[in-house]
Structure formats: structure tokens, C-alpha cells
Symmetry: C2
């Protein structure tokens, strides 16, 4: 069975030995801190490192047990029934779920190859400004698209004008395999952006180490909410990440990951070109995913079991849409944890599943 | 400044070297698991160890990033406005806060030296059964009291009859310095009890390693809620705890802690006897705290700054009460992280603060 579902890194990329020695160094030097109660947002040396690395003050940084958890805190602190939240459509299924859990009205804005449809965004703005807009501007999950500079500028301008928060989720931003970086939304409108980052895709997911950078008052509310929820986050893993960063090991790890994932992205694009004619998809320059719109007539309830019979585990595309029916033809293809050969095999196996499926519809 | 506030273990009791080697062993043997995404409730070998150790099935155990976080999940999943929750009065301030955050009606039941006042409990039951009753039956925080077997039996009986959950928070249960264990509420009514346990007081708080044992359907709801919130908990620390437990190191650590804390409890009781005449307090047989009711006329807003002037940091007693005014005379004295000499010095310094305070009221 080839797994084409969750966007997980391949396990052989984890720098296990480096993390073991980072943990050892940190606990030996500072075990009395990281093993004791530490109030949210956690281990101070890491907080200061992240603040300096991002050019902000420590009080503009909050660290939690995963960036998803931080987004859960943000949606709880900022949203409630009666308020609106905008989200790219499609978007990260778990983010959609947390937005819906808040009770706010969740407004999907159609995603184009260079970012959200600005006309649709503006029309919704005029219907009622949101409290926040959740966006994955770089190598979007599930689409793989990157929001253009022009669209980022317009969104930043609207955020100022209509006074909403941009929650910029950036787990894939350091994983660009082709082309040039585009300024982040936080760089364009630091006062309106809460930027989520994570070590899950660039170090190891099990650490659940995420952080958010933004407005000090929001950070303070989130910190208080987190403190009331669990006192403080898990700290020995924060100490581990701190020692790893301090030893200067991250840049080489990123380089290793980019060199590993670049040919995988290329192999996936080539395979889609070859095996999935008549589909539409963006050509991502980084990240973990390519979002493919399958031919008309595709039905998830037919596709998924057929794929399973052919030895392929696929993600239900409907989960990425606030209106699930829009995802009937949507397939998210992850490529990082498969070798080019496995990608070739998977796409070859996928082809008949997709087209036979259409023939019998 | 002598800190008489939070119930934190002394930092020199953390078995740092044992935890370093546990982490190393686990990451070397199973790094591909603990560094990867692991869905809630986390690291399977630890889950199975805890299940076996507690004589339950793995599906009756949920592990989270602290037992407080698990209680936050439980209150979110089980409670909502319109429902009732009973709680000992006084109780753990952070538990009070989470109960209130749920929007449920929080009903304080006065705590006596052998557990809650059963007449008050019954009267409230007749007014409307709760969805849950939060209780720290062993060495209560903040009182230090232990609920008698007779009261446990009555509460278990009511839980069955009125169909409410007993959330039995047991962080201090393994820390008995005198006397004999009393059966836990879970032993008396396993089908109605959700028992929270934690490694914070018996290993190290920074691990934020807590778990709950109880009804499989509730565990399933909490697991789903946790998965939607953060996918899974931090796992390298779970791996660390697992290796530590598997190596059989916990019993000796518990013995070490009990031998360290026993004379501290005794020193605190002696010092209260000597320096705080006219106060009432229980004589705990374990745990971290003794709750002292100060003489009539004590006012927190006078006491706390006076104490600070005398070099003593005290906890505001009002936080332990749903009706804060009831805590005006309440002082929680922690003893585990102070040596007998420090306890003696602290109580000597506290005496004039308490009685001068009364003289000028």
C-alpha cells in the first residue's frame, strides 16, 4: 500500500543523533529549568533566540506544543459566534476544523494559482470584515500554490483598512526548492500579521514545537489562555530545540531537506504530466503538496475505495473545503516522503483508478 | 525572599542523569516513532505500560501534555452552560478556573477535615445533579486533607445513583508519608470515575506528562478533541518517561521523595503548632500542602504586602474559592521544596505578620 495521505516527513531525515546530544547538553546544563514548572510560553532562552532570529521582541513571540495548538488558542481567544473568519478554499483541513469549532462564520475564498481570488475577497469584505484571515501564503496546504507579491500587498492593505488579523501559517516557507522568496505577509504588515511557524517540517514533528510572532497584546492574551490551560508547554523538547539551534545545525539540515525534496517535487510534477492528462494543478516551487483537480465526473466515494484496491491510500479531498462538495474532484498529492521511484509507481497505479472511475460513472 | 506559593518540587530531586539516559535510549531505539507525528494520545508503548500498570485496557487511558490540560479537555468535552459541576471548597485554583471557563454552573461544596460535607453535597444533588464532581481525594490541594473511606463510598454511591462523573485528581496519591492508603474512588466506582494522574510531582513537572483513566467512550471523545487540537502530544518526553518506567526506576525515586518530604511535612506541622496559635488546619499524611485558616479579622489585601515586606511570598487564599471572599483567611502552606530549617525560619517570620495584621485591623 502506497500512502498518499498525510504530509509527513520521511523518518530517515530526522537528525536523531544531533537531537540526542542537544537534549543531553541542555538537560545537563539547564535540567533544573527545563524539568521544573515553566510558565507559558516556556523556555526563555529559546524564546529569546526565536525573537532575535525573527527581529522581534520576546513579548511578540509565543511558543506552544505545535503551531496547530497555537492556532487553536488563537481561534479561541479571537473568535466567537457572530464574528467572521476568512480562509483560502481549499485550505488545511485541520485549520478549517478549528475555525469551525470556534463558532465563527467561516467564509471560504476561492484559491487561484497565485493566491486567493481578490474579487471574491473584496466582495466578502464588503459583506462584513472578518476578525481574521487564515492563509498559507507559501506552498499552500493542500494546493502547493504561493501567493504572489501583488496579492500579498493587496491583502496587507485590506488588513490595515478593515482592521483584521492575517494569520499567516508558514510551516513550509523555509522549504523552497526552486525560485526566489517572496516577502512574507508579516514583512509587509507586521502590525496586522500573526505568523505561525513550526519545527515539524524542518526538524521533527514529534517535538510539537511551534511558535507565533505578532502583536504583543494578542501574544499576551494567548499566553494567559495557555497558562490557564496547562501552566506551560513541554520544556525538555524546547531545550533540545534551543541547543540544536544554538549549535548552528538548522541551516545544514534545511539544505539537506531541500536537496532531498527538490527531485521528489520534480518527479511528482513529471509523473502528473505523464499519467494524469486532463487534470489541472499548480507547479509548486516548494513545500509538501501538489493539489490536483481531477476530471469532471470524479466522485470521492468511488475514487477512494478503488484506489485502496489498487494499493493506494488517498486523502478525501472534501476535507479541505468548507463546502465539502467542492472537493469531490480534489486530490492532494504529497511527495516528500516518497522516493522518485515510489512516486512513479504510485502515479502509474493511480492513472487507471482515475480514468476507469470516470468511464463507469 | 522565602517562596511559600506554588507547589513545586525542589529542583535537586529531579533524576536528571536517569532522564538523560532514558531519552538517549528511547530516541536511539525508537526515534523514528517519537520524532514523527504520533496521533493523540501519543506514544503507544507508554500507553500500554500505563494501562497494564493500572489494570485497565489501553482504550481506557488518555495521555496529554499535563493532567491540567487533560482536565481542560474534559471540561470542554463534558461541560457547557446550563450544566452543573461540583467542586470541593477550597480546591486547586487552576481547576476552579477551568470549571468556570466551561460556562457550567460551578457549585462549591464545603470541605471538612475528612472530605466534603455530605449534607451540603446531598442538598446540592437534590437541587440538580452535576455532570461531574472534581475531587482531590488524597492530600488535597490546597487543604492537605484526605477523604475518608466512608465519604468515598457515599460519593461513589451517589455517582452511580445520579449518574455523574467523578473526576478524581491524584497527583499526590503516591506521596503518602504516614498512615495507610485508602482505596481510590476509581477502585470504588471504576465505571463512574475519570482518574487523573501526573508525573509532575513524582518525576519532573517540565515533562508535562499527565494521563487519565476511565470510561472508554469519554476517553474516545477526549482523544478526538485532542487530535483536532494538536494532532498528538509531545512524544520524545513520553518516550523518556516510558524508558524510565521500563527500567524500573520509579519506585526508588518515590521512596527517595517520601523520605525527603516526610520530615518537611513534620517540620511544617510542628512550626504551625508553635508559631500559629489560634489557627485551624488539618494534619496531612502526604502531599505538598497544609491549608491553614488564619484568625478572624485576617484580610488578604493586608496580609500579602506585609508578608512581602517580611520576605515571604504567599499565595492569595481567595483563588482557591469559587466565592473568593471565603478565602480571606485562608493560607496554603507548601512544604516540599523547603528544608526543615527554611520552614522554621519562614514560620518564625510569618508569625508577626499574621498577628500584627490582626492588631491593626
Amino acid at each position: 500500500m502506497i500512502n498518499l495521505t498525510r504530509g509527513v516527513p520521511p523518518v530517515d531525515v530526522f537528525p536523531t543523533e544531533d537531537l540526542i546530544s542537544a537534549a543531553e547538553r541542555n538537560m545537563r546544563a539547564d535540567g533544573k529549568t527545563v524539568l521544573q514548572y515553566v510558565q507559558a510560553p516556556g523556555y526563555r532562552p529559546l524564546l529569546e533566540w526565536l525573537a532575535q532570529d525573527n527581529g522581534v521582541k520576546p513579548e511578540e513571540v509565543f511558543m506552544g506544543n505545535s503551531s496547530l495548538e497555537i492556532f487553536a488558542f488563537l481561534t479561541t481567544v479571537l473568535l466567537k459566534p457572530g464574528l467572521r473568519a476568512f480562509v483560502e478554499s481549499p485550505s488545511y483541513d485541520r485549520a478549517n476544523l478549528l475555525l469551525q469549532r470556534s463558532g465563527a462564520e467561516v467564509v471560504p475564498i476561492p484559491l487561484e494559482v497565485d493566491g486567493v481570488d481578490l474579487n471574491a475577497f473584496e466582495a466578502e469584505l464588503k459583506r462584513g470584515a472578518p476578525t481574521l484571515f487564515y492563509i498559507i501564503a507559501d506552498f499552500q496546504n493542500p494546493m502547493g500554490t504561493t501567493t504572489s507579491l501583488a496579492k500579498r500587498q493587496k491583502i496587507a492593505e485590506w488588513a490595515r483598512q478593515y482592521n483584521f488579523w492575517i494569520v499567516e501559517d508558514s510551516p513550509y516557507r523555509p522549504l523552497r526548492y526552486f525560485g526566489e522568496d517572496i516577502p512574507s505577509l508579516r514583512e509587509l504588515a507586521p502590525e496586522r500579521v500573526l505568523q505561525l511557524s513550526s519545527f515539524s517540517k524542518i526538524l521533527a514533528p514529534g517535538l510539537r514545537m511551534g511558535y507565533v510572532i505578532g502583536d504583543a497584546a494578542v501574544i499576551k492574551s494567548v499566553t494567559k489562555y495557555a497558562n490557564n490551560t496547562y501552566i506551560g508547554p513541554v520544556t525538555p523538547t524546547q531545550g533540545m530545540v534551543y541547543e540544536y539551534l544554538k549549535a548552528g545545525l538548522l541551516p545544514a539540515n534545511l539544505e539537506k531537506l531541500r536537496n532531498l525534496y527538490r527531485p521528489r517535487l520534480k518527479a511528482m510534477l513529471d509523473a502528473i504530466d505523464r499519467y494524469l492528462p486532463g487534470t489541472t494543478f499548480p507547479r509548486p516551487e516548494g513545500g509538501f503538496f501538489i493539489g490536483v483537480t481531477l476530471p469532471e465526473g470524479t466522485k470521492m466515494d468511488v475514487l477512494l475505495p478503488r484506489a485502496a484496491e489498487a494499493g493506494l491510500k488517498l486523502t478525501d479531498g472534501r476535507g479541505f473545503y468548507i463546502n465539502p462538495a467542492e472537493g469531490e474532484r480534489f486530490l492532494r498529492l504529497p511527495f516528500c516522503s516518497l522516493t522518485p521511484e515510489e512516486i512513479e509507481d504510485a502515479m502509474k497505479a493511480l492513472q487507471p483508478v482515475i480514468y476507469e472511475n470516470l468511464a463507469v460513472k
